[in-house]
Structure formats: structure tokens, C-alpha cells
């Protein structure tokens, strides 16, 4: 992949910002996850998070989570001013431990889903969503 001057510059800026900011943003997201898991380890696999690779507008981003056998699923947007998105608690009449919703993303970032399983173990999945800023707002 050839990078244009502008893209390279953007990468550099992104890296600079990454070095400064996510400390705070990610800490809040990590706190939210820790509050949900009680600090327990999280397995990879067991939970599926489906989100678009590119969102045309960060105001309405469709996502889907699925974790067969889970009792609840926490969704966190690590790059939002407040990382919490939603927590789904499934009752006995939920045919699948899965749900879809539409969420707000303040910018390009990782969305994280953490599932609490019936045996109180935890599983985690994440997806990066690029949020585009259009040329023609209004």
C-alpha cells in the first residue's frame, strides 16, 4: 500500500495522539469492563461482535452481539467520552443470547463486547470501526 503525504502525516498525528490520549479513554473503558468482570480473566472466543468496518455516520452504527450460553453481555466503546454502551441481560425465554442495536461512536475506535457465561467465566471480543467524516454535512 502506497501512502500519500497526507495519509502519512495523518498516521504520524494519529500516533502522536495515541501516545497522549488513549491513556484516559482506555482507562475508563477498562474500568467499565473491570466493574463487569470483577477483574476476572477473559477468554478469546465464545462471544461474537459484528460491526461494520466503516460506518458512514457515527450517529447510527448497527452492531450485533452473540454469546451462546451467556447470562449477560456488556458493550463498551473505548473511544467515546463515556465508554459504556449497553448491557444485555438474558432471561430464560431468550431463545439465543444475542441482540442487535444501533450505537453512537464519537470517532474511529474499538468496540468491545464482554460476555458473562453461565459458569461465571468471561469472554471478550472486539471490532474496530472506522467512522468517516463526510464532506457534506447539513
Amino acid at each position: 500500500m502506497e501512502l500519500s503525504r497526507r495519509e502519512t502525516l495523518a498516521l504520524g498525528l494519529g500516533a502522536a495522539v495515541l501516545a497522549l490520549v488513549p491513556f484516559r479513554a482506555n482507562a475508563a473503558a477498562e474500568d467499565a469492563i473491570a466493574a463487569f468482570t470483577g477483574g476476572a480473566d477473559m477468554a478469546d472466543g465464545g462471544v461474537t461482535l459484528t460491526a461494520p468496518e466503516i460506518a458512514e455516520n457515527g450517529n447510527t452504527v448497527p452492531i450485533e452481539v452473540s454469546a451462546p450460553g451467556a447470562t449477560s453481555i456488556l458493550i463498551v466503546a473505548a473511544g467515546n467520552p463515556e465508554p459504556g454502551v449497553a448491557t444485555f441481560n438474558f432471561g430464560p425465554l431468550a431463545a439465543e443470547q444475542a441482540a442487535s442495536t444501533r450505537i453512537r461512536l464519537a470517532g474511529t475506535q474499538d468496540v468491545v463486547a464482554v460476555a458473562k457465561m453461565a459458569d461465571s467465566s468471561f469472554a471478550k471480543a472486539s471490532a474496530t470501526v472506522k467512522v468517516t467524516i463526510g464532506g457534506c454535512g447539513g
Binding site: 461494520p52 458512514e56 447510527t60 452504527v61 448497527p62 468517516t132 464532506g135 457534506c136 454535512g137 447539513g138
Partner: protein
């Protein structure tokens, strides 16, 4: 080996182009049953287009999905609310829309022919004009604000009755003068950026303007639920946004200029199904 390299280079060259340019080839079918004409031959008077495409073809799969099922379409909340408004008595005459009109269904076909020239006054009228005329003359109620939620809800409810029918606005006879005025505006460069409607929506549709995939600027799906504002957006509000983005002083919503432009832009989409209410980014 040589061919392999060539193929790789060709792939590199073509991928970004096919991924970004042009309308996609999906079929627009609503609720698994209503086949929409979203691609068709351009009408002869759209002189610089061969094929016309609904703006739906320029959106991502996720945005497209919001329009193909009425439950998933957030615009339908406002259409539901409008159905209640339709029955609500308002104004000194003690009437609702339903007092005179036999259900919103009675407006089937109207949207496909709007805007049109009012036979009595000889003036070009759009849907919002018809609604406000009913409100003031028959209901003795206040006029609604052009882009207000009440107004655009009813505009969408009435438009929905014609969904699937091909747009077919008249551009001859009494309408010819207004159509010429609209056409003139379409090709006039506005603002500090000196952009005409045609610069983006005729010369560059299918290309990216920053991160936006430019459509042909068709209005057959308005009022449209825009994800950005999360509400129904009127045709004139969209025109206003476009002209403002050229860094120009824009015309007012409900101005005669925008009525004429609405007629002209609607006529460029003659043959496309009415999509009201569409969903866009």
C-alpha cells in the same frame, strides 16, 4: 511470473476504484415484496445523464439495510406519528386532515407528480404548500414551519402512499417556465467554492468528496431520514445544506427559488420509484 506481477498490479490498481466508484449493483426491494425502480434510463430532458440511479446505490450495506424493511427504517416512527396527526383536530374550524380526506391512502399517486403548477393561481406548488394551504384555509390553523417535525411527518406520510410508483413530474405547459428557472439554478455556480449542483451530482457522481460517496442528487426518497440528524429532512433543507457547503448565502426553505429547483431536480429523477421515506447517511 510476469503475468502474475501484472495481475497483481492490475488488482492493486482496480481494487480501490471498484470499491469506491460508481453505484453498487444491489436490488432495492422493500419488505421483501415491493420492487423499486432504483436504476433506469435517464429522461431525455436530463441531457447529460444516460442512466439515473437512486441515492440508495451510493450508500454502504448497513445504511441500505435500514431502508429495505419498514420496521428497521427509523423514518417510520415519524410516519406513525403523522398518522395520528392526520386524525387530530386542530384550528378554529375544528377539523383534522381526516375531516376532508378519506385517509392518507387517498393521496396515492400525488407525490409522483409533485411539484406541480396550481391551476387556480398559476404558481408552482410543492407538498408543503398544499399542506399549509389546507391548514390555513380549511382548518383555520397556523402554518407549519417548513422543516418542522409535524410538517415533514405529514409530507412523508403522503409521499409513502406513492412508494414504488415512478416519479413523473410535468415539465411542459405552465410548468415550463419554472422548470427552466430550476435548470438554470442547477448549472449556476454558487458560493466561494464556485460549485454548481451539476459539478458534484452530474460531473462527479460516483466519486468521493472527502469521505462522502457522491450520488446523482436525486430527491425521489425525500423526506429522508438522515443518520446525521436522526430525523426526517426536507428537500429544501437538503438544498440549503448543499448550497451552504459551497460557502454561499443560501436561499430560504420555502422560497420560490427552491420550489423551482425542486421541480427541476425531481424531473431529473422521472422514472425512478418514489422511495419516501428513504434512509441516508
Amino acid at each position: 511470473m510476469y503475468t502474475k506481477v501484472l495481475t497483481a498490479v492490475a488488482a492493486l490498481l482496480t481494487i480501490p476504484v471498484t470499491a469506491m466508484a460508481g453505484p453498487d449493483e444491489d436490488n432495492l426491494v422493500i419488505n421483501d415484496e415491493l420492487d423499486m425502480i432504483s436504476v433506469t434510463e435517464a429522461p431525455a430532458h436530463a441531457e447529460n445523464l444516460d442512466t439515473i440511479y437512486s441515492g440508495w446505490h451510493f450508500r454502504t450495506d448497513e445504511t441500505q439495510a435500514l431502508q429495505i424493511d419498514d420496521f428497521d427504517n427509523p423514518a417510520m416512527i415519524f410516519v406513525d406519528q403523522a398518522a395520528d396527526t392526520f386524525e387530530t383536530v386542530e384550528g378554529a374550524a375544528g377539523k383534522s386532515c381526516a375531516s376532508c380526506h378519506d385517509g392518507a391512502e387517498s393521496f396515492k399517486g400525488l407525490q409522483a407528480s409533485m411539484p406541480k403548477v396550481d391551476a387556480e393561481s398559476g404558481k408552482l406548488v410543492v407538498m408543503e404548500d398544499l399542506i399549509n394551504k389546507c391548514r390555513t384555509e380549511h382548518m383555520e390553523a397556523d402554518v407549519w414551519k417548513w422543516s418542522g417535525a409535524d410538517m415533514q411527518g405529514i409530507v412523508a406520510l403522503i409521499g409513502l402512499q406513492s412508494r414504488g410508483m415512478p416519479m413523473n413530474v410535468a415539465i411542459d405547459g405552465d410548468a415550463a417556465l419554472y422548470w427552466e428557472q430550476g435548470r438554470e439554478m442547477y448549472y449556476t455556480r454558487f458560493g466561494q467554492l464556485e460549485l454548481s449542483c451539476a459539478n458534484c451530482h452530474e460531473d462527479n457522481w460516483g466519486n468521493m468528496i472527502r469521505a462522502d460517496h457522491l450520488s446523482q442528487g436525486m430527491i425521489n426518497g425525500f423526506p429522508t431520514y438522515r443518520l446525521k440528524q436522526a430525523k426526517l429532512i426536507s428537500r429544501h433543507n437538503r438544498f440549503r445544506g448543499c448550497i451552504r457547503d459551497t460557502r454561499a448565502e443560501t436561499f430560504a426553505e420555502g422560497s420560490d427559488e427552491f420550489r423551482a429547483l425542486e421541480l427541476y431536480v425531481a424531473s431529473r429523477g422521472n422514472g425512478l420509484s418514489v422511495e419516501t421515506p428513504a434512509v441516508r447517511q
